[in-house]
Symmetry: C2
Subunit: 156 residues, 2 copies
């Protein structure tokens, strides 16, 4: 794994999230875990990923409490499952899916995230204020901690 | 840049999105562009990123139509701005921010995405069906293209 800058203590929650899930393999592993993939060999086959890369990613996901691993039999196959913290990443995957559906070229056979009950697409995710207003990018700001050399907020 | 597998023609829209924005620098560049950063030197200073890495990422973002670049004066500084396609990534950043706020340790000074009107946090993003039901992970499925060796859908 390429060593990189850590964002673990970054003041921005986006950066802190990316510190844990900010590479494509990690998010694809999480996607597959949502899809019911449990075993090392199945992740490997499904993703076409090198063993060492998969191994590092799974280990980090377990360390960060996003997956946990169960062994049915001692020495047997481990089964990786999303924790509650991991399941809470589903909205990230759904926003990526909705953007991909709208802004990338659909291959002839594209999968889609749907409501399991009727196989209809989910409602498009909107950004909503506490009072229910739908927000556009210019309606959103970043509230920064007060520091001498910074403005307290800026347009997002 | 490390050469990697391309997901451009992947049947999964999440993979296709990650093909374009699936590394931490790219999403942080987009975050800063939402925050009003426009110039190469400002991205560099703000992110603490090496010039060659920033340069490659900006070029790719322009090529993929997520940023465009304007030159006020010929030969002068370029100004990078989010296109509509780029602005459509805001929900991805918001879901990452909300997950980070809830599931990573807040440093003493954490920034927050807020409603610019009253500096209140946004409503928590929910996954909602066409008929308005709030969906949990087990309510969501992946509709796959029909293929001989695949089930047509599976629980997400």
């Amino acid at each position: 794994v390429v060593k990189r800058k850590s964002f673990e203590k970054n003041q921005c929650p986006i950066a802190r999230s990316l510190d844990l899930v900010g590479d494509w393999w990690t998010l694809l592993i999480i996607r597959d875990a949502f899809g019911g993939v449990r075993r090392f060999g199945d992740f490997q086959k499904h993703l076409g990923i090198a063993k060492n890369i998969l191994s590092t990613r799974l280990k980090a996901l377990v360390e960060h409490g996003i997956l946990d691993v169960h062994f049915e039999v001692e020495g047997g196959h481990g089964e990786y499952r999303l924790t509650d913290k991991g399941q809470a990443l589903l909205p990230v995957l759904v926003t990526l899916a909705q953007w991909g559906e709208e802004h990338t070229v659909w291959p002839s056979e594209s999968s889609q995230l749907v409501d399991a009950k009727n196989l209809q697409p989910l409602r498009r995710i909107e950004l909503v204020a506490q009072d229910g207003r739908v927000l556009t990018p210019t309606d959103i700001a970043t509230k920064k901690p007060m520091r001498a050399h910074d403005d307290n907020e800026s347009a997002a």
